[in-house]
């Protein structure tokens, strides 16, 4: 199981270490640094590295590497999932997971890590249990603790720890009882030069924010559950009920959680919401760039927060462009073009950007044109057509506020040119 954890920042400092078994010298990270040197970018460091006596399993998250050291034959996914859980917990506690936030809260971090893993075995990883054991820091409590001398470590056993609903503590009380669900769909696709779809799929999530008193038992049903044939559930969902009735039945965790994620493959995907028409020609010395983006099948909804980015080859020195909408920037160091388009108004003319590319003289023109990345957001639309039919609550007497929001986003939306 997991023996040790090192957290390393982008400049290669190990600023945090934690050992669950005996202490392993941090020199073991040299193997990691070696691999990092070989990798062409930070993301390209291999996830599993073998060293003579240990295995280093790492993940990369917002300029930080979380490197776990294992000594025995373990499941690397187990470790990777656990590392992601650590990040989620830190984000939950400190609102984000950065070097600063970890350093500022190192005692809590250390207590959390100790509580999450015992001898390399996961102990308490559910956010609600951890929060009962170790209170999240906030300014008010720190001040109160200073005065009263009490601590943010609870001295009673968390109630959820052993119940068969470990994700929920008992005795939750809210004055406003509310349950909100966001159906988020991300469109992953690759579009080729000709504008036809090489590959497309939808990653969907139902993210929930449930603040309900007591032990509510919820059921959610969908209008077209047929679409949901590849799903992953939060442990609270009763699988049997889903299998037989296609109804999500669950006692929700308290607070924010991901109830469901689903995957819709190419066969069910009907529409790509936007089209992109790039026209890039690069010759020796100079080039032309023109790109327009417009709505395709959006069911009358507005496409917002549109951003187009593209990484140009190293020969490109600069770009001089004129957009008819939004603003653009070109980073001459990373050779990244970023065009923040904003909203696409179907009544107005189609957003277009065009201009010239200047290349380093003497260098041969690049072999291929850069791919283009598109981000966008469409409110009140689940592009796959997934729709929540009903949401009912049992087990409690009060009447909760309920709400479902739909949103479609670009996931890995790539256009080849």
């Amino acid at each position: 199981m997991i023996s040790s954890l090192f957290i390393i920042n982008a400049s290669g400092d190990i600023f945090m270490e934690k050992h669950w078994k005996s202490v392993i010298s941090r020199s073991v990270c040299d193997y990691f640094f070696e691999a990092q040197e070989k990798a062409s970018s930070n993301e390209d460091v291999p996830a599993v590295i073998a060293t003579p006596h240990h295995y280093l399993i790492s993940i990369y998250h917002k300029q930080l590497y979380f490197v776990a050291v294992v000594q025995t034959e373990v499941s690397p996914l187990f470790v990777i999932e656990f590392l992601h859980r650590i990040i989620n917990t830190f984000e939950d506690y400190f609102s984000d997971c950065t070097e600063t936030s970890i350093k500022e809260n190192y005692v809590v971090v250390y207590e959390l890590l100790e509580e999450m893993l015992d001898n390399g075995f996961p102990l308490a990883t559910e956010s609600n249990i951890l929060k009962e054991l170790i209170k999240p820091p906030n300014i008010l409590r720190t001040a109160v603790n200073m005065v009263t001398g009490s601590s943010n470590v609870s001295d009673t056993l968390p109630t959820g720890q052993l119940s068969n609903v470990p994700w929920r503590r008992s005795g939750v009380k809210y004055t406003n009882n509310e349950a909100y669900f966001d159906v988020i769909e991300e469109v992953d696709c690759i579009i080729d030069k000709m504008g036809s779809t090489v590959f497309a799929e939808i990653q969907g999530y139902v993210d929930s924010s449930v603040k309900l008193s007591g032990m509510p038992d919820l059921t959610m049903s969908f209008v077209n559950h047929r679409l949901l044939d590849d799903v992953s559930f939060h442990p609270c969902v009763r699988y049997k009920r889903w299998e037989s009735e296609r109804v999500l039945s669950f006692v929700p965790p308290d607070g924010n959680f991901r109830l469901l994620s689903y995957h819709i493959g190419a066969s069910n995907l009907t529409a790509i919401p936007v089209y992109v028409r790039p026209n890039i020609t690069i010759r020796e010395g100079s080039g032309k760039f023109e790109l327009s983006i417009g709505p395709k099948q959006t069911m009358g909804k507005l496409v917002e927060d549109v951003v187009v980015t593209s990484d140009f080859p190293k020969q490109v020195l600069n770009m001089s462009l004129t957009p008819n909408q939004g603003t653009y920037s070109f980073d001459p160091v990373n050779k990244t073009l970023r065009w923040e388009v904003g909203k696409i108004n179907p009544q107005k003319q189609i957003p277009t950007i065009k201009g010239t590319i200047s290349l380093q003289s003497g260098m041969p023109p690049p072999e291929a044109n850069p791919a283009i990345n598109v981000q966008f957001k469409i409110q009140q639309l689940a592009i796959s057509g997934v729709k929540v039919n009903r949401l009912d609550m049992y087990g409690e007497k009060y009447k909760p506020f309920k709400g479902v929001k739909y949103i479609t986003k670009a996931g890995k939306f790539q256009v080849r040119t």
Binding site: L77, F78, I80, E81, K103, V107, T125, S261, H263, G265
Partner: protein
């Protein structure tokens, strides 16, 4: 106020200040000091000198402070074992605390202190905690057993903790069960006695399955992993376990999903492979695997490595999901490379167009490694999907036109493989490849190009120049290139001996004399000896038909694959190696897939035994040259077949060489052929030095056969008037799957030949021809393998002349005497036939006899040895008959005219010195002749008659 304040230091020295604070009376100050100590510890500072001061703070009712002190203890107890004893009392006391949280914390921390003296005190509290009424304490204690085992395994066994753990498997709380499973798995993994500790029976399995639904995601992983080690007693049990495991495939935790996949993949082995249930499982396995690919890149990587195994085991699981493996340009490189690999595994005729379009797209990306692998992938597609080969080749040619250096090199490497898979199909592109010769700077690409030039030397007009240009820089080349260059030059020489002797000499000298590389030297010596002793054998060896490569070369070997399937999700599955190969101190117990028991259901073959490849195409192996293998197949008793290559010389008939054919070889070669050079140990001396012309003219040592072969190369025809019987049909197309073979035997320059015409009357191409002769009366064996290099297309005819030599080891008396049994093999089948060799071929030119000797012999041979025959339909004059026979070494000793008839007394001598006498009665104008034959060896008569018929009718 943030915790970062703990990192600031003061002038006086940090340790000193902390010490003062730790011993302060103020609780708050103490706590702050401990926090500072912990802070220093986390960033790797050594604060172990504060040990006694920190331990003093342990006795406190503040849980946070207690926890922090425990944290400190765990880190430093090992370096201060004597001091750690001070803490024992507090631990033991805490284990009896009323608060379960404190009990659990104490037992947990004690287990982490790896000091022998402390572990002794641990046993009692641990035993109590394992039976604690609170499941939280119980589950913590379960893990503690595993910790203790790590420190002192003997103690754990002696104290009976393992049995207590096993009892916990039936506990009512699922968390406790899960932790007990986790602890037991870790112990059995680490224990030398292996899994014996932890054998599951159907009852505990049931318990585990119940706990599976209720415990945490991590617990589910442990339970699933131990389920995977269980072997159900029959298909039904396996099915019911699978039934309860499949819901786990929809879990949000990727590790749970993969562990569930492992259980299912393993138990599927036990099920009826044609049953419905397996179909259902296959359908259920695909979506969760696809979902894993939308997770974080690290998860994707592990998933992809496992999918690689899964598709090799059961290709149908993901066969429709090709598109999810398409590469996005911002995927991390390690994900990209894995995706490529799987794309090729899933490539089939149906989706190859899509795959190729993608691969071509990738080949223009920026990342060099990825581009290279994409180009290789195109080659692998060509080899895997035959129908796509042409498309792949043209794609590769397009890529070569881009002139991007590494793309060109990579393309040439894969084109070499394509040539090896589809010989004689795409050679038209060689010219394009040669254009890029100068840009190749990587050893593998250079070696590949050299291989192509050598292999197709006969079709590349300037092959000699090309190779010569490489040879110039021979010493600067990488050894891989040198080896390839050596072989290629020898190939070139064997294919085009004119003007290449110097080249071959210089390469042989370079490799044997100027190289320190033993591989190169040895190969150089071997070629040199081969060329100098027996160029024909060299030809056999160097130009032997190579086995075709197939895509299977990159598959994991089936038994290893089966073992790895048992390790899905673990490190072994990432490295594609069994854990025993890389995990330290790991016991060598191998996991194996369960085998479907014979009693359960249908009598289908066990799925886990890899299917034997049909053995029709490749003939199983003896370590002999290829054509000999056929003999094995025929189960003919061939004896030591190698001998024909090793020592053909003594078997050769004592004939004088026809020196005209030798002259063509020129001066360079005769020294090469000279086996009489001073020593054998140093072939290097053979070349270059003056050849001792003394007793032996160089050529005498060479087997006559070799000259024949070389003569053949030069297209030397035979000018002799020896009779060649017309070809007769040996194999009939309708009976031999479309292959028609006509043939005859002939003698040219005192060498025996089997002249054959192969005609393909089938619709499909034929290739891979080989021939084998059974032992025969005169010991004829082929000089060289049948040389039909190009495949035989439909309705095409190829003539081949196979030179035969006499080998004493190959003699066996046949009945009829001149019968020769032959086997012909091609890619379709093996065919057998027998043909009669005309006896006159074996008549020696010195067969003429003195008249008196003839008379004496005639009398000496008893009359029962006389055989009489009637020859009909011969419209020849006596003189013509005489002349025809004489040309075939049947000599007329005397001629008499009696009663209007011509009596011809004739003699002949066979190569084995058997003398045959004949009396031929010819009546002018009458087409019927009477023949009487006498010989000491009676069986020859029929064959002689046959020969007479052939000669006189021909």
């Amino acid at each position: 106020m943030s915790d970062s304040k703990y990192f600031t230091t003061t002038k006086k020295g940090e340790i000193y200040e902390l010490k003062a604070d730790l011993n302060s009376d103020k609780k708050e100050k103490k706590k702050e000091a401990v926090k500072k100590v912990i802070a220093s510890m986390t960033i790797g500072k050594d604060v172990s000198s504060l040990f006694p001061d920190v331990v003093n703070c342990m006795q406190t009712d503040n849980l946070e402070l207690k926890k922090l002190v425990y944290l400190y203890l765990m880190n430093y107890a090992k370096s201060q074992p004597d001091m750690a004893i001070m803490a024992v009392n507090t631990f033991v006391k805490d284990c009896d605390d009323t608060n379960p949280l404190i009990r659990a914390l104490a037992v947990r921390t004690m287990g982490c202190i790896r000091v022998d003296k402390i572990t002794e005190y641990l046993c009692e509290p641990l035993r109590k905690c394992l039976k604690d009424e609170d499941p939280y304490v119980q589950k913590t204690a379960a893990v503690c057993v595993a910790k203790l085992f790590d420190i002192n395994p003997q103690l754990v066994e002696d104290q009976g903790f393992i049995d207590q753990l096993k009892d916990l498997l039936t506990a009512s709380n699922p968390m406790v069960v899960a932790n007990a499973v986790a602890a037991l798995s870790e112990i059995s993994e680490a224990s030398p006695s292996g899994s014996a500790l932890f054998d599951l029976n159907s009852q505990t399995i049931n318990k585990l399955l119940t706990a599976l639904n209720e415990c945490t995601e991590w617990g589910q992983i442990f339970i699933l992993d131990s389920l995977a080690n269980f072997t159900p007693k029959d298909e039904k049990e396996a099915q019911s376990i699978c039934e309860r495991v499949t819901p786990r495939l929809a879990h949000a935790n990727a590790a749970v999903v993969l562990s569930a996949v492992k259980v299912l993949m393993k138990f599927m082995e036990m099920m009826n492979p044609t049953g419905d249930y397996i179909d259902t499982l296959v359908k259920k396995l695909s979506p969760p695997l696809v979902t894993l690919l939308s997770a974080e890149p690290e998860v994707q990587y592990v998933a992809l490595r496992n999918i690689n195994l899964i598709v090799q085991k059961r290709a149908d699981i993901l066969k429709h999901e090709m598109k999810v493996f398409f590469v996005k340009y911002n995927d991390p490189i390690y994900v990209k490379l894995e995706k490529l690999d799987i794309m090729i595994r899933l490539a089939s005729q149906g989706n190859i167009a899509q795959v190729l379009a993608e691969l071509k797209e990738y080949a223009t990306e920026v990342d060099v490694d990825f581009v290279r692998k994409s180009v290789r992938a195109i080659g692998r597609c060509a080899i895997k999907v035959e129908q796509s080969a042409e498309r792949c080749v043209s794609t590769l040619l397009d890529l070569i036109q881009t002139k991007v250096n590494y793309v060109v090199q990579e393309a040439i490497v894969v084109i070499k493989d394509i040539f090896r898979k589809y010989p004689n199909k795409y050679e038209s592109i060689i010219a394009t490849l040669c254009e890029n010769l100068d840009t190749l700077d990587e050893p593998e690409a250079r070696a590949s190009m050299i291989w192509i030039i050598g292999e197709y030397a006969e079709r590349i007009d300037n092959a000699d120049e090309l190779l010569e240009s490489f040879v110039e820089g021979f010493q600067d080349e990488n050894s891989q290139v040198q080896l390839q260059l050596l072989t290629a030059v020898v190939k070139l020489f064997l294919k085009r001996p004119q003007n290449t002797q110097e080249l071959v000499q210089s390469v042989l000298t370079l490799s044997t004399q100027n190289s320190d590389n033993p591989d190169l030297r040895d190969r150089g010596y071997i070629y040199w000896r081969l060329l100098s002793t027996d160029p024909a054998a060299a030809k056999n060896v160097v130009l032997a038909e190579k086995p075709l490569i197939s895509e299977e070369t990159d598959l994991i070997e089936p038994t290893l694959l089966d073992e790895l399937i048992c390790y899905i999700g673990s490190l072994a599955s990432v490295y594609h190696k069994p854990p025993s190969a890389f995990v330290e101190g790991r016991s060598n117990t191998r996991r194996a897939l369960p085998i479907r028991s014979a009693g359960s259901g249908s009598a289908s073959p066990e799925p886990s035994t890899p299917q034997k490849a049909p053995e029709t195409t490749v003939i199983p192996t003896t370590p002999a040259p290829e054509n000999d293998l056929l003999g094995d197949l025929l189960n003919l008793d061939l004896g030591p077949t190698n001998q024909q290559f090793m020592s053909p010389a003594p078997a050769a008939p004592p004939q004088q060489q026809d020196s005209s054919s030798f002259d063509l070889l020129g001066g360079g070669l005769d020294s090469l052929l000279d086996t009489q050079a001073p020593t054998q140990s140093s072939p290097a001396m053979v070349l270059g030095g003056p050849t001792p012309q003394a007793a032996h003219p160089p050529v005498a040592a060479a087997p006559p056969g070799s000259l024949g072969v070389l003569g053949d190369i030069f297209g030397v025809g035979t000018a002799s008037g020896e009779f060649v019987a017309p070809k007769e049909v040996w194999l009939e197309a309708p009976k031999c799957k479309g292959l028609e073979l006509k043939g005859t035997f002939s003698k040219k320059n005192n060498n025996y030949f089997m002249d054959m015409s192969f005609t393909n009357k089938a619709m499909q191409q034929m290739s891979g021809f080989a021939i084998q002769l059974n032992k025969n009366s005169f010991g004829l064996v082929p000089m060289s393998p049948l040389n039909i290099s190009s495949p035989l297309n439909a309705n095409q005819q190829i003539d081949a002349s196979l030179q035969l030599v006499i080998s004493p080891t190959h003699m066996q008396r046949m009945d009829p005497l001149m019968n020769l049994q032959v086997a012909i093999k091609n890619n379709i089948d093996v065919f057998y036939f027998s043909a009669l060799i005309p006896m006159y071929l074996f008549c020696t030119p010195d067969g003429t006899m003195d008249k008196r000797y003839f008379l004496q012999s005639w009398k000496d041979i008893p009359s029962q040895n006389e055989a009489a025959f009637v020859l009909t339909n011969i419209n020849l004059t006596t003189d013509a008959i005489q002349e025809k026979l004489a040309k075939n070494n049947i000599f007329t000793v005397a001629k008499r005219h009696v009663e209007g008839q011509d009596m011809l007394y004739q003699s002949m001598k066979l190569v084995n010195n058997v003398e045959i006498l004949a009396e031929l009665k010819v009546q002018p104008g009458n087409p019927t002749l009477n023949l009487a034959i006498k010989s000491k060896v009676v069986d020859v008569a029929a064959s002689v008659h046959h020969s007479f018929l052939l000669i006189l009718h021909g």
